[in-house]
Symmetry: none
Subunit: 263 residues, 2 copies
Amino acid sequence: MPQESFLESFLDRIAVVLVRARNPQNIGAVARAMHDFGLSDLRIVNEYAMPLEGARSAVDASSVLESAAAHATVAEAVADCTLVVGTTAVGERKLEHPLFTLADAAPKLLAELARPAEPEAPRIALLFGSEKTGLSNEGLSHCNWLLTIPMHQHGDSRHLSMNLGQAVAVCLYELVRDRPLARSSAQPLPAAPEELASGMASERERLAALLSEVLDASEYRRHHPANSGLDDLRKLVLRLHLTSADTTVWMGILRQILWKLRS
Amino acid sequence: MPQESFLESFLDRIAVVLVRARNPQNIGAVARAMHDFGLSDLRIVNEYAMPLEGARSAVDASSVLESAAAHATVAEAVADCTLVVGTTAVGERKLEHPLFTLADAAPKLLAELARPAEPEAPRIALLFGSEKTGLSNEGLSHCNWLLTIPMHQHGDSRHLSMNLGQAVAVCLYELVRDRPLARSSAQPLPAAPEELASGMASERERLAALLSEVLDASEYRRHHPANSGLDDLRKLVLRLHLTSADTTVWMGILRQILWKLRS
């Protein structure tokens, strides 16, 4: 559990990104929750310009709303972020992303913020979709992973959804819940990232060999001889931490490229 | 960490008591938060009868609102409760009660609910005052102790107050935050991610866009339309966990390939 000084100095590295939130009252409620918990970076993604006037009446949140940024696409809104985390109510949708409860997600978010600022200063985007439909597949495709707030199952889980302002308030609360009040227990920062497991070495070797052929055929190696030896390629492939499934995808892509380059 | 069966069977022993909440929209928001987290016992204290019609439109919360009880006094509203806990924003008021952060208060609340049902079945009242003034001294006088949600100090702490619906949502979330994820949808959770994503989202986006061009030029997309949409590529690139340095290398390789494919 991080100490206050850590929290306060890192909260401005968290952007709340609302995707297709079209109700100004909801946006005002989100701004108020951000103000209450000490965040200020609000980003709003809509295909068309949305008047924020209706939201500007939100109590105490005028500074958050006035500095809110409008973006046309999720890609633009999260461009400067090193970690993009989506929120979901886990309805009927089949998820392809790793999913964590909010309580499990918070230490990961704080660990990202505690990362050294080299090579990139860590910055997190927390994505919230519309109340009715949540994040679209396009929105989800920008996310490193997802978090969910554990809710009560009322039978028909397809209708699971929280009020947007309440969902944001709960998420931000979880991030600061150990902010000291009268307590003095300081806990060490979250543990360092674990090593990634990779696929089999033989798969990597085949991929590196194929990549080597592509670099020859494309004349990349002729232009960049210094870093395209087989050892370099092997290390480059190793650092991809590919699963076997993704290795297969990349083999297919490279084979097609090679075929086309030679035809 | 209480288990699900414990939580679900005891949540109906928690009453949310709103004292002088006169805004029907706020009451509707509270009902929705209760519904979302699986509570149903809402009690409203006002000196005069308050029409709840304005609140009844609250999404999904109609059952909570329909069974809401109106009381003329706090004493009447909490009469059957064994533990009465007030919420406060800890403004300028001099507190005479023991005060706990919400995170420290939750285990105490759950311990009370887990008490044997003799001589009295445990039942908790969570008191929330009006947004403007909080609980009055009269309201506080009914409380065994107080809890507070840690908020950001914006200088003038006298104006500290949360939106009522958000405050209730945050309090109820804390009580159920260790509730296990519902697996009713029977989908296995994807493997845990390692916190390696380091490059900026904008770099990943450029890489995915360039890869997309290569897949067109190499006719890979024509042969494999199913898994080469931009969303697929974005996720494929995301799973590479590239550093900024390696992203640069891969951009160079793909640019050369593209140049060669087109030449």
